[in-house]
Amino acid sequence: MKKNKLSEGLVEILLRISAGASVLAIIIITVFIFYKGIPLIAKVGIIDFLFNLKWVPTNGSFGIGAMVIGSLAVTFCSLVWSVPLGIMTAILMAEIAPPKLADVLARFVELLAGIPSVVYGFFGLIVIVPFIRNHLGGVGLSVLAGAIVLGIMILPTIINISRDAILAIPKEYKENSLALGATHYQSIFRVILPAASSGIITAIVLGLGRAIGETMAVLMVTGNAAVLPDSLLAPVRTMTSNIVLEMGYAAGDHQAALFATGTVLFIFIVILNLAVSISMKAGTENGN
């Protein structure tokens, strides 16, 4: 009896320590990034830092405008094709495909999620970049290449979460809709998808977060020129790439500017997470 109580107490202490450690790690990282990055943003001025297109750190010109736009451009272009494709695949898996086929598809999607990002980058570099160079022009290292690779990488997130959202819709909705004389597709598009919309929005925002934070694959296929891209075929540098490319030799204000880039990214992700929790809360209030 006594021994049981003792071991239970120990387990509880262990759990508390583990939970505390992860929370502490997050707090320390956050404080550190802000501590290193904020002074430079204050020095340069937040407007200038965010919107100035001139990034010449050796000259003391720290504007990440081109990178902010680069990140947004690559992310947006990847979402443009992967969101519709992902949602359609989710509908197929949840509603249309026979269970066996849906199961096979689910395994492939899992596989897609498990591939390391450097492999995606390598594939992009060897296959997609030359394809763009040969068929569309430019050097191949481009916004488009980044958008294609990133889109493939965030498909699993969009597919899995959308599919779960669709599967969570009570089957009574479908029965009722069919009993009113609706076809299967009318039921899907007019009842099931609207009912699952908060889950699908969550899927999109999480995909967006993943896309904006992705570094290695994007770094390998986008060319990384720190200038504003003037077309889909132009090279581009994202905020994440900016940090990786220059952290090896940066010092002083330059290093601080990289931390400041990290701070901006961090704030982006926090905003996206807030958007997810708001959308999920809206979903529960609708009674789903």
Binding site: P170, E172, Y173, E175, N176, S177, L178, A179, L180, G181, A182, T183, Q186, R190, V191, P194, A195, N286, G287, N288
Partner: protein, 251 residues
Amino acid sequence: MKTKLECKEVKVFYKDFQALHGIDMDIFENRVTALIGPSGCGKSTFLRTINRLNELIEGTRTEGEIYLDEKNIYSNEIDVVALRKKVGMVFQKPSVFPMSIYENIAYGPKIHGIKNKGKLDSIVEKSLVAANLWQEVKDRIHKPAAGLSGGQQQRLVIARVLAVEPEVILMDEPASALDPISTSKLEELIGELKKQYTIVIVTHNMQQAARVSDFTGFFLNGFLIEYSKTNDLFVNPHDKKTEDYITGRFG
């Protein structure tokens, strides 16, 4: 009294299990027909053969014929979508769609091609009035339907069925999730609806069957044991099993 539905030798199989054994039953127009029997006796399965909803469950097979106005709904020429427009269904648990009251009712007419706003407005109002719900909700028809009480939701579902102008309404234990007051409102409504529609209702509650129906069929283990006028069945059952069931000896 016109025969609305003529069921001949209806058999349903779930994979290897036979759920219905050759049901023969005539259902009359503008009458309420109640189906009673213990759980698992096949009454809901039979109800779902009339709008072919059993087909949603994989591995289900239906044999026999059901004639709706002398047309076999199991023949190959029948369009299931058109059939379900004619044969509406109210389920056990009211399931309102996560949209406004108005949109719930307008859903059926919209999918059947009505786009005119004025026409939709009048269908919505007419259906809500017919379902005895208009007075309670007329000031908030653009509010989410999920905010209604259980009894109101069930009447909303009935209004949604009425909006597609069916001829037959199937009800699968429509009052089992309702409180006594909502139940009596629903029963009153059923009495009014039969003037225009043919109603088939599955119920667990024998008093309810006695109160609302003109004809009653007693199902047991997939067989239709006895089918006659409600009064005769309850007062003077011919089969020993029917008598045992309605006197509460099993169930």
